[in-house]
């Protein structure tokens, strides 16, 4: 067999596998839809605001609900987003807060 034939088959095989990954993603998504709906329902009923990803401190358990002055908050108007806060200024919109235009 020609080397190029082997290589082209290999590349086609890989592309096909990648296609299968896309297909798998679709199937998994379809399979997870009830679960996602359930999650959305939990959020709605319990009026949750945050993921339960880091439960140790309030500014990590509820990053969206933390104080104006929490350890890694760059600006009182900004929601904490460690560690970006230490490096980058929060967007203008957030800094301005919710005052009515004067």
């Amino acid at each position: 067999m020609r080397k190029s034939s082997i290589f082209i088959s290999f590349i086609l095989g890989c592309t096909l596998t990648l296609g299968l990954a896309f297909l798998d993603a679709l199937f998994q998504k379809a399979g997870d839809l009830p679960l996602l709906r359930q999650e959305i329902k939990v959020v709605e009923t319990l009026q949750l605001t945050d993921f339960c990803l880091a439960t140790e401190a309030r500014h990590t358990r509820h990053p969206s609900q933390s104080d104006w002055h929490s350890p890694f908050q760059s600006h009182p108007g900004a929601l904490d987003h460690f560690p970006s806060g230490a490096i980058i200024q929060p967007p203008e919109r957030i800094i301005k807060g919710h005052e009515l235009p004067r």
């Binding site: 290589f7 959020v43 969206s64 987003h81």
Partner: protein
């Protein structure tokens, strides 16, 4: 047409033969290259899936939350504020939320205690998240002891375990009745942790927030939009950190690949001369180099992307999960729903395949324009 295809396949044949001559070195290159693509793609897939999940799931979060601030810190909000807010035009409902944290020294974990009127739990009973059930070995009917704000023990019976499927949101939750919550934490009757506000017209949420801010200057409204954006920023930044950590390795690879792709050895120069002498055109030589570069980079791109998919969505990302998801004692078990799109793949392709291929061709340019008769003279 078939002339062009034949020609390119012939050149590809030779490019492969040529690469196979330095089998060990080129395989090592493909392996490292694959690893780099794998790392980048894993981070990208993972962060994108988390962001998508956040925006999807948190789309049901209250559209407006009002906190009271005292000296810059979150404080209990008087229910009288709810009355004032209810009078603002466009507001359909205002509810007080009761929630807080409880540190359990037994397992050294933080719980989130939450009152939910709809769940209607009788007094002295609780429903716990699956994560708590795990660390405390709790089951329906078992009891859990809490210490109230006055230091008095309070015994609760577990009435239910929250579904495992929503662990991403509820692993550390404890649901209890409002009476028990107030008793446990000493929250006065006419106070709430914060208020959720429902607005009739979604477009007016920002205006309502501004009005609340004006009317009650010691409050801070939080919009749903901001929450979702916070999560996007969090995951973007976490992915960014992984990339920064990988940057050293990435640069090292870049130097290696550049040296490999761009540095033409005397031997390679001689070969280009021979090819020209036996009748190859400059463009044929460049096509050869194009195929050499593409062979390596396309292989690495495809393998790396496939491995990344398997790693992130079939094996739950054992390598990067903690950095991107965060950590905690009460860590939720959850499986990410894959969200792949063509755009991601295209970005990855342009950042991995194209630079390498170009780096292979450019340095050959000069070598490929040498006079073929130089071969005769050596």
């Amino acid at each position: 047409m078939s002339y062009l295809v034949n020609k390119q396949r012939n050149i590809l044949d030779f490019a492969l033969s040529s690469l196979l001559r330095r089998k060990g070195k080129n395989l090592a290159l493909v392996a490292v290259y694959t690893l780099v693509v794998f790392a980048l793609a894993s981070v990208m897939f993972f962060a994108a899936a988390l962001k998508k999940e956040a925006s999807l799931v948190l789309s049901a979060t209250p559209e407006l939350i009002v906190q009271k601030m005292v000296a810059g810190r979150h404080d209990l909000i008087p229910m009288s504020y709810a009355e004032k807010i209810r009078k603002i035009r466009g507001v359909t409902a205002v509810e007080g939320r009761l929630w807080g944290y409880y540190y359990d020294p037994l397992v050294r974990a933080n719980y989130t205690l939450l009152v939910n009127e709809k769940t209607a739990l009788p007094e002295k009973t609780i429903a716990v998240g699956a994560g708590i059930a795990r660390v405390r070995s709790a089951y329906r009917g078992s009891t859990m002891n809490f210490s109230s704000y006055e230091g008095k023990p309070m015994l609760f019976q577990v009435r239910g375990i929250l579904s495992q499927e929503s662990e991403l949101l509820s692993a550390d939750l404890i649901l209890l009745s409002a009476t028990d919550f107030r008793r446990l934490f000493g929250v006065p009757e006419d106070y709430a942790t914060d208020l959720t506000v429902q607005v009739r017209n979604k477009k007016e949420v920002a205006t309502v927030a501004a009005k609340i801010q004006q009317m009650l200057p010691d409050t801070r409204p939080i919009l749903r939009d901001e929450i979702i954006r916070t999560y996007e920023a969090v995951f973007d930044w976490r992915a960014g950190i992984v990339i920064v950590v990988l940057l050293g390795a990435l640069l090292a690879f870049l130097i290696f690949a550049w040296d490999k792709a761009a540095g033409l050895s005397a031997e390679e120069r001689r070969e280009i001369g021979i090819l020209k002498a036996i009748g190859w055109e400059t463009s044929d030589v460049l096509q050869l180099k194009f195929w050499e570069g593409l062979t390596v980079s396309l292989t690495a791109f495809l393998l790396g992307t496939i491995f990344a998919y398997v790693h992130v969505f079939l094996a739950a990302a054992p390598l990067f999960a903690t950095v991107i998801k965060g950590w905690s004692i009460l860590y939720p078990n959850f499986r990410l729903t894959p969200f792949l799109n063509v755009f991601q793949i295209a970005v990855l392709f342009f950042f991995t395949v194209v630079p390498y291929t170009v780096a292979t061709i450019i340095p050959s340019w000069r070598a490929a324009t040498i006079d073929p008769d130089q071969v005769m003279r050596t």
